[in-house]
Amino acid sequence: RARPDKSLRFPRPLVIYLFSNAPGVCKYPAGPPAPCGWGAEEAKRFSKRSGTFPPAHSHNDWIGPPDKHSNLRPVIFYVSPEESPLERRLREARQEAQEKEEFIYSRLKAKGLEMRDETGQKATLNAEEMADFYKDFLSKNFRKHMQYNRDWYKRNFTITYLMGQVALARALRWLRWKKKNS
């Protein structure tokens, strides 16, 4: 006995349709990094979120729970006192990527993508209507999605490449240190 498909609750599609209108993303404050430990900005954000400070003895980045709306996990970046320019570039690139994503997704959330009917109630759609909506939605925002895709791939490759360079530099430094000490 076939059951009719119940109306699907309208899921919020995660589409970057405001990307092209994004104002300048706030960059990491220029200037020398904090003398040691955590940057002031990050510490503030961290304490705002969780009320606890990343432990001072930790020399690593910290990653937090996924954001309720964007599902992205915020990262607090550790600023080493002996940060080389390369490492700083890496950190800034990661910071910028994170802020960009956060911006995009928070704007998305603010706009919301819930269809409402005349009475303002959230409408439930059946499969066909949803399919039509998404087809329409995806085709209308195709360019923006492609743009986001391209940017994401570029960011991803840049950051990974920088990570590779940093890792190589650190390895060489360690080898030199070893040779000096042995």
């Binding site: 076939a2 059951r3 009719p4 498909d5 119940k6 109306s7 699907l8 609750r9 899921p11 919020r12 599609p13 995660l14 589409v15 961290f46 969780s50 606890t52 990343p54 930790s58 690593n60 980045d61 910290w62 990653i63 937090g64 729970p65 996924p66 599902n71 992205l72 996990r73 990262v75 607090i76 994503e101 499969a127 066909e128 949803m130 399919a131 998404y134 087809k135 995806l138 999605h145 492609m146 895709n149 994401w152 791939y153 991803n156 950051i159 990974t160 990570m163 590779g164 890792a167």
Partner: protein, 450 residues
């Protein structure tokens, strides 16, 4: 049905208990399960599991699907499954944290997710612990003792195992004497190539994965490893894998492996966001491993290889389309272009079409001298059954028919390959008929696999 779901639930518990180090399994649980058939059952005896899920054994299918566990991920792409061992229980991953555990969750949803989790690539960590840890800030430092588990999840190790088994099916079907070393090298090479492809796929899809319930617990999304490590791991699997295939087996197999990696990472993965044609590309990705197995054995790409590939290609569609029908919400949330989201009619038509194609392909097998004529005859019932379910899915277009079709595809493929293998035209038979394949007799031992 309730027995099946109960065994699935039991399996879930077994797995969970095993992971949390609890040895005893009170028998109360089983009784509870059997008793409750149409009412809400809560497992009061297990505090740590009480909030994990509450199954509701009513007939109502809820659209408020709770976060879905990892469902099928296919060879080289998230399609194919080959549940040959039927040990679904051991491969079950507990479902991801339920935010509203008391919400309407049908037990069938549970079963489906549990069964589909059999092919999941992701973790099998206990749900409760996971959700608690999830709320905390974690240091991004690589823990060496976690590394094997993380890499297993990164490479979708279970999916890779299924890919390797399809490749070995291809190897077994080849009409040549069985060569064990070649078989092992080919399997290893295919496995490594699959690991590499899956890792790169996860590397590319981090922000999209974080938005889908199925994939939000992947290692890169959770920051357990850095992207650099993922890429290095992929390279360290892919390069030796392809080298092994090229040098240890033959260049053709190596080329196919490299091509498949390229197809999966550079064509299928970006295309998922661009057009619905990604499903067809992904079907090709799933069809190549058995072809690789065949070429590993024979060294040439002949009609038999293409037929085997064709059977797997056709199989992908009912399998994936039925699966994606139930995950429409998730896919649309992730912004993917899938047929089930944007072209539902086409989705069902294609599934039905390829179910019928399976019948046709099974009939072609004896014509190409791969199997005897008993194969199409014996396989007709199972092919007809899956076609029937495909037709029901086409007509009804609801979750229950899609689930039926999906589950059928899980056992259909292993059974079909098994039947094919038992009906394989004997190598000796062909020799008797003077149909020498030009293999030197002294080289390899003729081991006819039982």
């Amino acid at each position: 049905r309730s027995a099946g779901s109960c065994s699935g639930t039991l399996g879930l518990f077994l797995w969970h208990l095993k992971n949390t180090g609890i040895r005893q399994i009170p028998c109360h649980f089983v009784q509870l399960c059997r008793v409750a058939n149409d009412r809400l059952i809560t497992f009061q005896y297990f505090n740590f599991l009480k909030r994990m899920y509450v199954t509701q054994c009513n007939k109502d299918l809820s659209q408020r699907a709770k976060p879905k566990s990892d469902s099928v991920a296919s060879p080289f792409r998230e399609l194919q499954q080959l549940d040959q061992e039927k040990k679904v229980i051991h491969k079950i991953r507990p479902i991801s944290p339920v935010h509203q555990p008391l919400s309407e969750t049908s037990i069938r949803n549970e079963v489906r997710e549990m069964k589909s989790a059999a092919e999941t690539e992701d973790s099998v960590t206990p749900v409760r612990a996971e959700s608690k840890e999830d709320r905390q800030w974690k240091e991004m430092k690589l823990q060496l003792n976690d590394l094997p588990g993380i890499l297993a999840r990164l490479s979708k190790i279970k999916l890779t195992a299924l890919v390797v088994s399809t490749a070995s099916a291809g190897f077994a079907m080849a009409p040549v004497p069985f060569d064990l070393t070649c078989f092992l090298i080919a399997s290893l090479g295919t496995g490594l190539a699959s690991c590499a492809a899956n890792s790169i796929n996860q590397f590319f899809e981090v922000p999209f994965d974080s938005n889908m319930n199925r994939t939000k617990n992947r290692p890169l999304v959770r920051g357990q490893i850095s992207p650099l490590l993922a890429v290095c791991f992929a390279a360290s699997c892919g390069v030796p894998g392809i080298a092994l295939l090229t040098l240890g087996v033959n260049p053709l197999t190596g080329a196919l492996g490299a091509f498949n990696i390229f197809l999966y990472t550079c064509c299928y993965t970006p295309m998922k966001r661009m057009s619905i044609a990604n499903t067809w590309v992904g079907a090709v990705v799933g069809a190549i491993p058995p072809v690789m197995g065949w070429t590993a054995a024979t060294g040439s790409l002949d009609a038999g290889a293409l037929l085997l590939g064709g059977i797997l290609y056709s199989w992908q569609f009912p399998h994936f389309n039925a699966l994606s029908w139930g995950l429409r919400e998730d896919y649309s949330r992730g912004g993917y272009c899938m047929m089930s989201v944007t072209h539902p009619g086409l989705c069902r038509r294609v599934a039905l079409r390829h179910c019928l194609a399976l019948i046709g392909l099974s009939t072609v097998a004896p014509l190409l001298d791969i199997t005897t004529w008993t194969f199409p005859i014996i396989s007709l019932p199972i092919n007809l059954y899956i076609s029937y379910l495909g037709f029901r899915f086409y007509r009804d277009a609801d979750r229950s028919s899609s689930r039926k079709l999906f589950f059928c595809s899980l056992w259909h493929l292993p059974l079909l390959l098994l039947v094919m293998f038992t009906c394989k035209k004997s190598f000796l038979e062909k020799e008797d008929k003077g149909d020498l394949l030009g293999e030197s007799h002294g080289r390899a031992m003729e081991i006819r696999l039982p």
